[in-house]
């Protein structure tokens, strides 16, 4: 499956992890220049790798980016972060 929109950068991966519930909306710390805590980031990558059946390294390796690039369902993998209640209008 060729992805027309591959996930290649850390920023794209962060968007992906946020979109699908691995990073809470509040993950960026305003008291720290809006930076993402390294532990939070690693945990999010690990959670995704674990969920996706990849080797759990916490590193944004090629296999992880490859899987993030696959076409997929838009529903979150993990629920519980922030405003998950996508209510129908």
């Amino acid at each position: 499956i060729v992805s027309p929109n591959p996930v290649q950068t850390t920023t794209q991966a962060e968007i992906y992890l946020s979109q699908f519930g691995y990073l809470p909306a509040s993950a960026r710390n305003p008291a720290n220049g809006g930076l993402l805590d390294a532990t939070t980031w690693t945990k999010a990558v690990q959670d995704f790798q674990s969920f996706a059946g990849l080797n759990v390294t916490g590193d944004l390796d090629g296999e992880t980016l490859e899987l993030m690039s696959l076409p997929r369902c838009g529903v979150r993998d993990k629920v519980g972060f922030g405003t998950d209640s996508r209510s129908k209008r």
Partner: protein
């Protein structure tokens, strides 16, 4: 599998396609959507009735970019569709920027994505079992679709098992509880009870589980062995020898048998071409004289076992076996070396057999299950329904 937490109170559900895709014929879409719903109604008493107008339970529409629910689609690729859980209405939206196709490896298969989305509409969240329909990633066109046992267990957890009719889509059987809990009901007394060591076990594409031993094979029932078995392997699979080392059925529906340096491929009971072939040719990187093989539900990849080592084989990768393999079987916590057989059973657990005993492997904790009676347990009692055999190998009182 994972359940979102809501479900429909009724089993007779209605749906309506309020906006059709721009590139497909309406009749074709109607048929594919109905077929996608039947994936779930085949294993439950749910029914899905199309309506042309008026209120319905599940509204379906093909839309692009921002479409009113605050969750805009992103064009070709990326997000293909989304659906709302029952508590949020159950509606399913498909990104019409995708090239939706029917029965073709081109584009994005409508049936597969719709069946997945309707899983959400019924209350299922994403599964971390890669072979499950409810896994979030699109896997490409699958010409032989079969609902994974993980999905069957999930939907039946919400709506119960089907009480009328039978599953006719070639999926897993309705009853999926292996003798993990229930004791054997039909006592047996034959060769396999005296010597329960088997050569291999595998699931066929039609959901049956078979055990091979010497030149004979047994079909397993929920608790025991089916009447009329054992039978000769040569009568069941023409051209296949006895004393098979390993076997598995891949997601293409074909069953592969391994013995010595060679392997055979069967489509059901028919040899699928000119076999045997050399393992070194068809399964580059995999050794000869295997102990066991299986498709692991954790990631859908093929695992081979020999001695104290195992290999992971991914047909979609080049090379199919990474350079980091083989790895020690001790990575599978609690498993012994020199196993005889491995099997992903229809209840979602992975089982390993050695001698007269078996181990149940928990894919989530990635270790042999802690249970009472403990594993390993005697295969004769729990798998073959033998009478007058112990039900545990330990000294516990159970």
């Amino acid at each position: 599998y994972a359940l979102q937490g809501s479900r429909w109170r009724v089993k007779a559900l209605t749906y309506k396609i309020s906006k059709y895709p721009k590139r497909l014929k309406r009749n074709d879409v109607d048929a594919e959507i109905a077929r996608a719903f039947s994936v779930w109604s085949d294993f439950t008493d749910l029914s899905f009735t199309p309506k042309a107008s008026g209120p319905v339970h599940i509204e379906i529409k093909f839309v692009e970019s921002e479409h009113g629910d605050g969750d805009a689609f992103d064009g070709v690729g990326g997000t293909l569709a989304h659906a709302f859980f029952p508590v949020f209405g159950g509606d399913a939206h498909f990104d019409d920027a995708e090239l939706w196709t029917i029965g073709s490896p081109r584009g994005t298969n409508l049936f597969q994505v719709a069946a997945h989305e309707f899983g959400h509409s019924l209350g299922l969240s994403h599964s971390d079992v890669r072979s499950a329909l409810m896994a979030p990633f699109y896997r490409g066109f699958d010409p032989v679709f079969k609902l994974d046992s993980d999905d069957v267990l999930a939907i039946q957890a919400l709506y119960g098992k089907k009480t009328v009719g039978v599953a006719d889509r070639g999926g897993f059987p309705k009853t999926t509880q292996r003798p993990v809990i229930s004791p054997p009901k039909v006592p047996r007394d034959d060769l396999i009870c005296k010597d329960p060591k088997v050569d291999t076990l595998f699931n066929s594409a039609d959901g049956q589980t078979y055990a091979f031993k010497g030149n004979k094979y047994y079909r397993l029932t929920e608790n025991s062995i089916a009447d009329g078995y054992p039978k000769l392997i040569s009568d069941g699979w023409a051209g296949l020898p006895g004393d098979i080392d390993a076997a598995f059925t891949y997601k293409n529906g074909k069953t592969y048998f391994f013995k010595g340096t060679k392997y055979w491929r069967y489509n059901g009971r028919q040899m699928d071409g000119d076999y045997p072939k050399e393992i070194s040719e068809g399964f580059t990187g995999i050794p000869d004289h295997l102990d066991a093989a299986m498709v692991w539900g954790g990631n859908g990849k093929i695992y081979f076992y020999k001695g104290s080592k195992f290999w992971r084989f991914d047909p979609l990768k080049r090379p199919p076996v990474k350079s980091s393999y083989p790895k020690p079987i001790s990575n599978w916590e609690g498993l012994p070396n020199n196993i005889d057989a491995a099997l992903q059973y229809t209840n979602g657990y992975t089982y390993f057999f050695k001698g007269d005993k078996y181990y149940r492997f928990n894919d989530r904790t990635f270790s042999v299950d802690a249970a009472n009676p403990p594993f390993p347990r005697p295969s004769a009692h729990w798998w073959f329904g033998c009478k007058n055999v112990p039900s545990s190998t330990g000294n516990d009182d159970h």
